[in-house]
């Protein structure tokens, strides 16, 4: 009877521990996703400040890296501008929350369509958002 009792308690305890572990993984994933999104949004915001006119891509599909940053987490953010072949350009930003070993715990990719204004006196191009241009990439 004692063995059966101990075995039953063991099964209950192990099931509880497995549930707790699954919850911990889900919680870590949710936090990592938030941190990755924050990094992507930071990169997108930095890109919206503008870039040198010479960095503007020309050919359809051509993409130029604009921003590379690290935010607390640590999470990394990157943004690039991509020519679509017309007057509308796409700024694509990505964020990734990395583990200490460098593995990705969560990642987010965002896109914002923009129109480009003429370069200012410093040769900087300032983008302005195109209506309904924001989307989260799959």
């Amino acid at each position: 009877m004692a063995i059966a009792l101990l075995a039953t308690l063991g099964v209950i305890s192990l099931t509880g521990l497995a549930l707790a572990r699954a919850e911990r993984i889900a919680g870590l994933g949710a936090i990592s996703q938030v941190q990755a999104r924050a990094a992507a949004q930071a990169a997108l915001a930095a890109a919206l400040l503008g870039w040198s006119a010479s960095s503007t891509p020309v050919a359809p599909g051509e993409e130029r890296q604009l921003v590379d940053l690290v935010v607390p987490g640590p999470a990394t953010g990157r943004a690039s501008v991509r020519a679509l072949g017309g007057t509308v350009y796409a700024i694509r930003a990505s964020g990734a929350r990395l583990s200490q070993a460098g593995d990705s715990l969560g990642s987010v990719r965002l896109e914002l369509l923009v129109l480009l204004q003429a370069p200012d006196s410093f040769g900087t191009v300032h983008p302005r958002p195109y209506p309904r241009g924001w989307r989260q990439l799959p």
Binding site: M1, L5, T8, L9, I12, S13, T15, G16, L19, A22, E23, A26, A30, P60, G61, L84, G85, G86, T87, V88, A90, L113, L115, Y130, P131, R132, G133, W134, R135, Q136, L137, P138
Partner: protein, 275 residues
């Protein structure tokens, strides 16, 4: 004659039975309490998971909504227990446009889709290059394979559009493929669930979170200044409250769980494409 002990006395028997009964009761209560806790906690974990799914689905559906002066608002109707809206299923970029046909680049770095386009169910939003804004076209037939003028792979999307409707649309125009969806609270006796329905089909509403409390999905629509929005095109953000109930199917263990417990979550979603 020496006295020998055979058998047990009545007092010993009573003591043994009492101790065995006490140990048995203690063991049963211990196991019962542990199993009850496991059932209770696992049902609550499941309900919290349901809350996260529902909140994530609401955010995914609401966040990309926007509007412009040419094609109107993506949020079609709004009410406290649900809403109807345009849901984007694919996105791409045109490489050519002519009356009746839009040619969209099909290479993976250009075309991203959660599913293939379906005629009669999907519509298109195409961005103008001359003035910022989108034009809406129903998709007439299933997409056909085609080539862009530069020889790269493409989809030919058939639409009813003459040259006047295509003013400002051409190579480089962004494209969104969308369908109308409804997300709302509904009753599936005896419970309430949050579900999604495709407006262009006869499909019944499909649940994705629940069971929920009475009025377990409550949405309030706000203007940019935080005041209540009077119409869908005024909505810049949506605050939501989700009330979820635990259910027996969500837990583990053999023991019967407690009566359903309630848990809730509140949040606010900013419509990223609201001007």
């Amino acid at each position: 004659m020496p006295l020998t002990r055979r058998g047990i006395t009545l007092a010993e028997l009573l003591a043994a039975l009492t101790l065995t009964g006490w140990l048995g009761t203690l063991t049963t209560r211990l196991l019962g309490a542990a199993a009850f806790q496991l059932r209770d906690r696992s049902e609550r974990v499941s309900a919290e998971h349901n809350l996260r799914i529902a909140a994530g689905a609401l955010r995914s559906a609401l966040e990309p909504l926007g509007q412009d002066s040419l094609s109107g608002a993506d949020l079609l109707t709004s009410s406290p227990p649900g809403f109807t809206a345009r849901a984007v299923r694919a996105a791409g970029t045109l490489c050519a446009a002519s009356p009746g046909a839009l040619v969209v680049r099909a290479a993976p770095q250009w075309w991203s889709a959660s599913r293939d386009p379906v005629a009669g169910r999907d519509s298109l939003l195409v961005g103008r290059l001359d003035v910022p804004g989108w034009r809406s076209f129903p998709l007439q037939t299933a997409p056909l394979s085609a080539l862009c003028p530069d020889g790269s792979a493409a989809w030919n999307l058939s639409v009813t559009a003459d040259s006047a409707a295509l003013i400002g649309i051409g190579p480089g125009s962004p494209l969104r493929l969308f369908e109308g969806v409804e997300i709302r609270l509904y009753t599936s006796s005896p419970d309430q669930w949050t579900g999604l329905r495709l407006l262009a089909t006869t499909q019944a509403i499909q649940p994705f979170a629940g069971p929920m409390q009475s009025s377990g999905l409550s949405l309030s629509y706000e203007r940019r200044d935080g005041s209540p929005a009077g119409s869908p095109d005024e909505v810049a953000g949506v605050s939501f409250r989700l009330g979820m109930l635990t259910e027996r199917a969500g837990g583990v263990g053999l023991i019967r769980g407690p009566v359903p417990r309630a848990d809730s979550m509140s949040g606010f979603v900013v419509l990223q494409n609201h001007p």
